[in-house]
Amino acid sequence: MKVPYKVYYERGDALSAERIAVEARDIDRIRVVEGSSKHRIQSTTLRDSAFCVIELPIKSVRERAT
């Protein structure tokens, strides 16, 4: 099915964003990575029918009649 956005299927394709929504049949346990920087990184792996999308805040074009 043709979709109006880019979908990456190849191994090694990557997404990088501030906020990514994900879904999959199986999600591994969260692993906490204590790096040298002050940021605490958490990582996990999605398995089986994984789908990820860079999130966008969306709102209606029509102005609300208040």
Partner: protein
Amino acid sequence: MKTDFSEAIGVQPLLANFINRLLAKPERGEELGLVSDSAGFSEEDIRRKAKEVTQVTQAMQVIINMPSSTWGTAVNFSSLAAENILLRREIEQIKQRLAELERKMPEEKVIVLREISREQAKQEIQQLFSSGRTLYYSDIAEELRLGLQLVVDICRELEENGEVKVDESAL
């Protein structure tokens, strides 16, 4: 672990003694104000019951008295008490750690996805946006209990049609 059997030991001999006296002298029952020909129970019945009770009491005595015979030589009460305190403290620490881990654990929320047609899903998403809220794909998927991929497809379609737009202020 219960380490203090003083109560049980104190009670056992009294019970056995009382039953033995009752068996040895049946007329004793009368002194105690018991009716010898009690309604529904023959003397034989009462003797049988008393024998059963004696057997149970003796069995209990064996169970409780076994460790007490070795206490004098092998078991040090103070070390047992100290061990008890240490174990209690350890349990308390484990409880605290468990509560801490439970707090840190992300809550698992089960969402049963609805199986609805694409058209109906589109209508529901349009309706959701009519409230004027700014929503992320994941918000819509969760609120309407729809698959993420379907939500993204429909939102991009609505965006192309000019019905919705990216909220630049939220970026």
